[in-house]
């Protein structure tokens, strides 16, 4: 073979490797700069405005427009936690059940009907969920349960629908990947399908199902617009399911546009963004820890 061609080929091989390598490195750079830039703004609340971390995390007084701004973020933190956890309490059982249906009960209907349906659930944009919540759910709650309808309950229901497909598809993947032998062994012992599901498959798929639930929780925590549209956005800790409230994401969405960069108010919103970032990173670490416990033992 021509020597020059050979050299060109080698050089191209090297160049290709460098290009794909830099694409991968770019991902790391992106994550680091995300943390760096959000932290550089988010920490000013504590460094520049000298607001104690304790006040930010545990005070419920959100009066950032005062002369001496008070930026207690407790109502938003509690709001996010409440709305996400109750949403998951609804969507986790439904999600896991539909995953079991898809994999164990009716593979054909699962593949032809339920799987595409779940994919469409994922695809519906969050503003459309928010809009549906606003135009259907909020008036419904107001009419049948009282209050304005803009409430914790509305937020929970909207998020339950939005987290369901995540939980279903991750759980289904896990259950599908369980070795067929453990099913066969269970049936060979005379177990019914339900007994196999309950005593063999669910325990074996537990790490995967936990991962699915944490992913759902992370999605609920980070969702902004759909929640913001239905919860009423009052910066208070709700005392009942029917009261309006706020979350970390909703307050950022509402107020970021009306505040001037550099003010204590604006910095406090960045601190909330930093908090969100830390929480979502924490969820990732949690998933890694859960996953490491092995598929089944």
């Amino acid at each position: 073979m021509d020597k020059r061609y050979e050299v060109a080929r080698k050089r191209q091989d090297m160049l290709g490797k460098v290009i794909v390598f830099s694409s991968a490195v770019l991902l790391i750079v992106l994550v680091i700069s995300l943390f760096y830039f959000v932290a550089s703004k988010g920490l000013s609340t504590f460094i520049v405005n000298k607001i104690p971390l304790k006040e930010f995390l545990f005070s419920a007084e959100w009066r950032p427009d005062r002369e001496v701004p008070q930026v207690g973020a407790l109502p938003f933190i509690v709001g996010s936690v409440l709305v996400s956890i109750f949403a998951i309490l609804i969507s986790a059982p439904l999600g896991v059940s539909s995953a079991i249906f898809m994999v164990e009960i009716s593979k054909k209907m699962g593949q032809k009907i339920l799987q595409p349906a779940i994919e469409i659930f994922v695809g519906i944009p969050s503003v459309v969920y928010g809009w549906l919540g606003l135009s259907v759910l909020v008036p419904f709650i107001s009419k049948h349960f009282g209050g304005l309808g803009f409430s914790l309950l509305a937020g929970i229901l909207v998020l339950a629908i939005m987290t369901l497909p995540t939980i279903t598809s991750v759980s289904a993947d896990t259950i599908r990947s369980l070795p067929v032998e453990i099913r066969e062994a269970s049936y060979a012992l005379g177990a019914t399908r339900w007994q196999t599901i309950r005593h063999v498959l669910i325990p074996a798929a537990k790490p995967g199902i936990l991962t699915a639930i944490i992913l759902g929780l992370a999605r609920a925590f980070g969702e902004a617009l759909a929640v913001q549209m239905v919860i009423g956005n009052r910066p208070v800790i709700p005392k009942s399911f029917l009261e309006p409230m706020s979350t970390i994401t909703s307050i950022i969405t509402m107020e970021m546009g009306n505040t001037v960069m550099g003010t204590a108010w604006n910095n406090a919103l960045w601190s909330l963004a930093l908090l969100l970032l830390i929480i979502s990173f924490f969820f990732i670490i949690l998933i890694r820890l859960v996953g490491r416990r092995g598929m089944y033992r």
């Binding site: 091989d13 991968a24 009960i105 659930f121």
Partner: protein
Amino acid sequence: MKAKLYDKIATIYFYVVAGFLVAFLISLIGYILYQGRTRLNLSFLTSPPKFMEAGGGIGPQLFNSIELLVITLIISVPIGLGAGIYMAEYARPGLFTEVIRLSVETLSSMPSIVVGLFGLLVFVTMTGWGYSLMAGALALTVLNLPVMTRVSEDAIKSVPSSLREASFALGATKWQTITKVVVPAAMPGILTGIILTAGRIFGEAAALLYTAGMSSPALNFSNLNPSSPTSPLNLFRPAETLAVYIWKVNSEGLAPDARQIADGASAVLLLAVLTFNLFARWLGGVLYRRMTGER
């Protein structure tokens, strides 16, 4: 016989859950399309929105959504594909690979509002572009990169290694093998993935509120001067998208028919996403049959 009875009950329960979810989805879609039906016409899709009076359309917003989608894909597909190739073909188990993987996971679970704020700081303020199409496209790229990386990595990994070995045996270099054999073979999976992520980009709003902005200058389609604010070719004009518009209309909509506009826009957005989904399924099927020769 108690076990048999429980088994029956459980089976019925699973059918009820599955049936409920499917019925629920159908009623959701039916409701949105029914509510928006009066607006699904050409004049709504093409005319500009009106301020304080009824009868406005979604023309510029729809156009912005499509333009933003195209630009985002142009930026994020090559980089995501590159990173996917690296992870599937070059990465060796070790700390560095773990860090990349952790980065991909962190990015893909990043709340989109946080990505929007990052975009506000870096692509809007620091670059001095202001709210612009380009800032929006870069924010969406941050959201799309991890998904694209995963999709291409999975697709490339599922290419049988016999193909690679055959190519090496013919004397091809690694890079030649990747570009001429592996990536073409992985194309069905990659394309399907791109179309599915396109649906997600199309519906994204939270990351765009403070990057592409919440306003759209009137567009003049005969103006092809890229520096003019009314030109569709200007990448540095504020570009409110359809999804952002739905959000804005019902939080501060001043037009008397704000509700109908949001209904119509939701129906359009939903139809677009459904189209992406069906198209991905169809294309996936066709390409799979062509690659495997199955009928």
